[in-house]
């Protein structure tokens, strides 16, 4: 049972006000094997990206090594002054993200609309 490949698509959507929002849509597994997909994709974003939205709604399996990659991405974003919002996590992973303290650095939203609105 090999790990499912992490797939990431990048999309830029307009915001109702201010900078556009860069959406990273993850699917598959997010594990220790996901570094190129998660960190590599983040590092490939243009310097102009100031608002980043993480879409976890199609993620099938997430473990602590995958959460660590999300934290690494948040560390890099913090250094660049970027803001990160997230949506699409299951109630269980919302609880896990809260347990490890990630919610101090990203807000977790129920859906894309509310996550986008929270950038304003």
């Amino acid at each position: 049972m090999p790990e499912l490949v992490t797939r990431v698509t990048v999309e830029e959507i307009p915001a109702t006000a201010g900078d556009p929002i860069t959406v990273l849509r993850f699917s598959g597994d997010i594990t220790s094997a996901s570094q190129p997909a998660v960190i590599g994709t983040y590092e490939g974003l243009p310097e102009t990206a100031k608002r980043i939205l993480l879409d976890f709604s199609q993620v099938e399996y997430l473990n602590s090594s995958g959460i660590a990659l999300v934290i690494q991405m948040m560390i890099a974003a913090s250094k660049k002054g970027q803001k990160i919002n997230s949506f699409g996590l299951s109630p269980h992973f919302k609880k896990v993200f809260t347990m490890v303290g990630i919610t101090k650095y990203t807000t977790l939203h129920a859906d894309e609309a509310s996550a986008c609105a929270a950038f304003d």
């Binding site: 934290i71 948040m74 560390i75 269980h92 490890v100």
Partner: protein, 161 residues
């Protein structure tokens, strides 16, 4: 969380459960195969009547214990297997995850997100914390050279951690 039993020791505690109510798996020390144990534990927990919330808690705990056993216990040596024993009784489900290592060398560490964000703590290293936080009982028993195990229990009477 006050009713939880957690710890690290070198003495097996066990539960005295009978083998007729147990399921055993042997997994290769290859990342990804923890999902076999995770999904088996989830199936058993659902059959026993655990809520989906508790099933999700157990899935994460079992996956993290298996990953630790593969990575730290067996050093990802695919010639070594990780054992998983699920034991049921009327009110609880116990999962033991065994490996060939010496067991964890430190106590469970609560992650400090601020330290992680400032580079003062590694981003990784949350597995044992999650296991302890998500199940009702968790312990790590070190018994070299025979190997070591993580033991986790969830109780039907405990609706939420």
């Amino acid at each position: 969380m006050s009713n939880k039993a957690t710890g690290i020791s070198d003495k097996p505690t066990g539960s005295g459960r009978t083998s007729s109510n147990s399921i055993e798996l042997r997994l290769p020390s290859r990342l990804g195969y923890e999902k076999v144990a995770m999904n088996t534990a989830a199936s058993v927990a659902r059959l026993m009547g655990f809520s989906e919330e508790r099933v999700d808690d157990l899935k994460t705990a079992v996956a993290e214990a298996c990953i630790n056993a593969m990575e730290h216990g067996n050093k990802l040596d695919e010639s070594l297997s990780v054992g998983v024993v699920l034991s049921m009784d009327a009110n609880s489900l116990e999962v033991k995850v065994t490996d060939n290592g010496e067991g964890p060398q430190s106590k469970t560490h609560t992650p400090d997100i601020d330290k992680k964000m400032h580079g003062e703590e590694e981003a990784r290293g949350m597995g044992m914390f999650l296991i302890q936080a998500l199940v009702d009982e968790a312990e790590w028993v070190s018994s070299p050279p025979a190997g070591s195990y993580a033991r986790m229990v969830i109780h039907l009477s405990n609706p939420h951690v």
